[in-house]
């Protein structure tokens, strides 16, 4: 009687624990250590829509799906969608650009690129190759699968598994492109990747005036933060906010 009661209590305790701490299997598909640097969560990342109208709904859905993550808040920004813009698909600092174009008979349906500074992603692109997608064999689900995956890579996600198994996620490496959405493991992995905070951010454009900062005149150097004992050299810091700083090292003439 006591044994049976003890067993019941134990089973109940296990159930309560599992409910409180849900087990997340397989959340280990980060793309190296790559992530967007940010000082708080959720990371507010902008995706520039440089896609033709026939891809807009796919991009909208992908952005909506990824925004369900507790650590990402994705905004969509209208971008130029002329052929030249889409073919070049130039990355924009602090943002992701999504493009579609007939990139040629080069073997890939989709390609995601990230630019990094150390482990921090500074900008990214996602390209969908219409050379192949113009083939009706690639249906709406396939298109959704690929755009979801390429955008997902731009957050620092790798493939969930590289065996080629179908894992019911747009982040698998299966030949069948039949998973239009992320799954719980993708969201769990994002939470792991973005569980820490950084001292600076790589998200968004540089503050106004930073990239073309006029630092010729001393009055534009900001605050003196260090000076040598003999006063011959000094370091000035001009803080533009969000981790963007200009340091001026000066050795004074005699």
């Amino acid at each position: 009687m006591h044994t049976q009661k003890a067993r019941s209590v134990l089973v109940l305790a296990v159930i309560v624990m599992l409910a409180a701490f849900p087990f997340s299997a397989g959340a280990d598909h980060a793309w190296g250590n790559y992530h967007w640097a940010r000082t708080s969560n959720p990371a507010n990342i902008t995706v520039i829509d440089s896609m033709t109208a026939d891809w807009d709904d796919n991009l909208d859905t992908a952005i909506s799906d990824w925004s369900k993550s507790s650590v990402l808040d994705i905004a969509e920004e209208a971008g130029a969608s002329d052929a030249d813009t889409r073919s070049r698909c130039r990355a924009v600092k602090g943002k992701v650009r999504s493009c579609n174009y007939t990139y040629g008979n080069n073997g890939w349906l989709g390609l995601a690129q990230i630019w990094v500074r150390g482990s921090h992603i500074t900008q990214g692109t996602a390209k969908m190759n219409d050379t192949y997608f113009s083939n009706p064999a690639y249906d709406e689900t396939a298109r959704q699968h690929v755009v979801c995956q390429e955008i997902g890579h731009d957050w620092g996600l790798g493939h969930q598994d590289e065996s080629g198994a179908d894992l019911n996620t747009c982040m698998d490496y299966a030949d069948a492109l039949d998973n239009p959405n992320p799954n719980t493991h993708d969201y769990a992995q994002l939470e792991t990747i973005y569980s820490h905070l950084d001292n600076s951010t790589t998200i968004g454009a540089a503050p106004a005036g930073f990239e073309n900062a006029n630092v010729h005149a001393q009055e534009n150097w900001g605050t003196k933060v260090h000076e040598s004992a003999n006063g011959r050299s000094a370091i000035f810091e001009r803080d533009f906010g969000n981790g963007f700083k200009v340091f001026t090292f000066v050795v004074w003439a005699e």
């Binding site: 790559y34 008979n105 890939w108 390609l111 690129q113 890579h153 790798g158």
Partner: protein, 150 residues
């Protein structure tokens, strides 16, 4: 004395013939060549054609993850991309960026239209995206096993 001379001459002849025979047995047949070592696109094409494959040189092909422009070859009717570098060292630097399954190259992640197969030799990287066994056979016979892909 006369007999000794004849024996000596016979011995010389036997030795000479045995040396000649050795050369005869080991000599390559007239017109045959040693297997080509693939070093670049030109020798790759020769090696593939030597295996009986039809090879056509097509348009240039560019990949953002490779620094050099490649050439699209038609090998037995299938598209095969060849990227030729200035040196073997430069080739190896770029080949080292390809993940074992071919799914990523450096900071690029790729969704391929079919199964990717990467090969390398001396100054070239060769990429075949497909699954034609006869194409894979001739590529492997010319280049050895793939170094990345599925």
């Amino acid at each position: 004395m006369k007999n000794q001379v004849w024996i000596f001459l016979l011995l010389v002849c036997v030795l000479a013939v045995s040396g000649c025979a050795n050369d005869f047995l080991t000599a390559s047949p007239v017109g045959s060549t040693e297997p080509l070592a693939v070093e670049d696109q030109a020798t790759l094409i020769s090696a593939l054609e030597g295996s009986g494959a039809t090879v056509e040189i097509g348009e240039p092909v560019s990949q953002v993850f490779f620094s050099t422009e490649g050439t699209l070859l038609k090998v037995k009717g299938a598209d095969v991309q060849v990227f030729e570098y200035e040196s073997a060292e430069e080739m190896e630097n770029e080949a080292s960026q390809v993940s074992p399954d071919g799914g990523s190259i450096g900071t690029s992640m790729v969704t391929w239209v079919d199964v990717p197969h990467f090969y390398k030799a001396n100054r070239i990287i060769v990429l075949y995206v497909g699954n034609d066994a006869s194409v894979l056979d001739v590529l492997e016979s010319a280049l050895g096993p793939q170094f990345a892909g599925r």
